[in-house]
């Protein structure tokens, strides 16, 4: 056990020395990896921020049912209540609606200028199932009821936002896979060059009784450390990028009276980026070693 630890420490030390001995190349490689990884990580952070914004508004799966003037309110209400897809029901009379409008900023003058109330009576229906298909289905049924002038699904835009976010996440995942492959390729090549330059040492070591594991270990650490450095660099790039963006966002937000700021990845996700980068570096080393160390 002690020997095993010592050998790993030895391999780790040798890997670190190799990296330090080639500082420029190491930095360049880490930078390539860092830039590559900062793209999906940045996209992920932006998406997370957008979703944060979206979630501040509560999206009740609501359907507004506007009534014709001649509609029979009580009869309609009974039919709505009987529908299992309706979780809750609220009646908003045309007078209430107008009163609400009057209170809304900047509209008081407009309302005052009206000769008569142009608004219809309405039911605000909260659906039991918030899914887009379910809401559309419900809206279709409601539209067909006698006395109903118009039906509006209020959460449609939330659904659309969610769909957009899904597409965004998918695109990010594709980008991440692509760049992860690139990262593995970069490490693969770095380790290949390392193996070539150390061919002699490897050969002599094997002739003198070094095991395969002993010979390979430093290269694994090399790949791992390079990936790790790239991951940390990616976070640094992301952090700097967000700081720059936030300068602009602050002005924009202030114009809307908000103190909104883009936030960095949560600690768990940041850690995941670094761990993922290290893992990919290790993978690149593994592929290279199994191909070039025989």
């Amino acid at each position: 056990m002690r020997t095993w630890l010592r050998q790993h420490r030895g391999a780790f030390t040798r890997a670190v020395h190799k990296l330090l001995a080639q500082r420029a190349a190491t930095l360049l490689n880490a930078l390539v990896i860092g830039v590559a990884l900062s793209l999906p990580a940045g996209g992920y952070a932006l998406l997370a921020n957008l979703q944060g914004v979206a979630q501040r508004f509560t999206f009740e799966p609501q359907v507004s049912v506007f009534l014709k003037p001649e509609a029979k309110r009580a009869e309609l209400e009974a039919r709505l209540r009987a529908d299992r897809r309706v979780a809750a029901l609220r009646f908003v009379s045309r007078d209430e609606a107008l009163a609400e409008l009057r209170v809304a900023e900047g509209l008081a003058d407009v309302v005052a200028a009206l000769e008569r109330n142009p608004l219809p009576d309405a039911f605000v229906v909260r659906a039991a199932d918030g899914g887009a298909a379910a809401l559309e289905g419900l809206a279709g049924t409601l539209r067909a009821l006698p006395g109903v002038a118009n039906v509006q699904v209020d959460s449609a835009w939330a659904e659309r936002l969610a769909a957009l976010a899904r597409i965004g996440r998918l695109a990010l995942a594709a980008l991440a896979v692509l760049l992860a492959t690139g990262l593995v390729a970069v490490t693969f090549n770095t380790i290949r060059l390392q193996i070539l330059t150390q061919r002699e040492e490897i050969e002599v070591s094997q002739l003198l009784g070094a095991t395969d594991a002993f010979v390979r270990r430093p290269f694994f650490y090399l790949g791992l450390l390079q990936g790790l450095a790239g991951g940390v660099l990616a976070l640094a790039i992301l952090w700097a990028g967000l700081a720059v963006l936030n300068a602009g966002v602050r002005d924009l937000a202030q114009a809307y009276g908000s103190s909104f700021q883009l936030v960095f990845l949560p600690g768990r996700d940041a850690l995941a980026v670094v761990a993922f980068a290290a893992l990919l570096g290790w993978l690149g080393a593994l592929l290279s070693v199994s191909k070039y160390l025989r």
């Binding site: 010592r6 050998q7 030895g10 002599v204 070591s205 003198l208 009784g209 002993f214």
Partner: protein
Amino acid sequence: MISFSAVSKRYPGGQEALAGISFSLAAGELAFVTGHSGAGKSTLLKLIAAIERPTAGSVVVNGQNVGALKRGAVPYLRRNLGLVFQDHKLLYDRSVFDNVMLPLSFGTLAPRDAARRVRAALDKVGLLARERANPIQLSGGEQQRLAIARAVVNRPAVLVADEPTANLDAESAARIVDILLSFNQVGVTLVLATHDEALVARHGRRVLQLAAGRLARA
């Protein structure tokens, strides 16, 4: 200690480098392997260390059938052998000390003990004062002695040296031979390939003479 029975070796796409070789060496024995260039001396030594595998027959070292050894077991065989290669195989990117340290770095010795071993080995070959030098700064004879120090640092029971006196003047060669014999005198089995007739005549009790891959004298 070492025994060959009906060993043949054919390199891929080549002629038979060795054919029907049988002999056996007892522990602590000293044997010279002689023959013209291309006779198969290096090939015979490489079979002992499983650097090459026999095409037919069996090579047994220390009770192990070396020819059939699994890849994973080869390193452990080699750690019990001292190998001096025809082309030294020294590393010129590190000091004399670090060259001798190399075989200990994959062993189980604690660093402090390893360093002590390295200095003891360098002392035996008279290179202790040069431990910080780069091997490139050493003369041919000194490089050969360094190769010997690296071979014996693991305290092997068998020492295998491939033409250690080639390209050396008489004085340097004599010193190398003295060093190698001194290990044999303390019980190390020594197999020495050479085409130096005078050397063989002086010390040769056991001579394995190869001619075109066959044993002409054992």
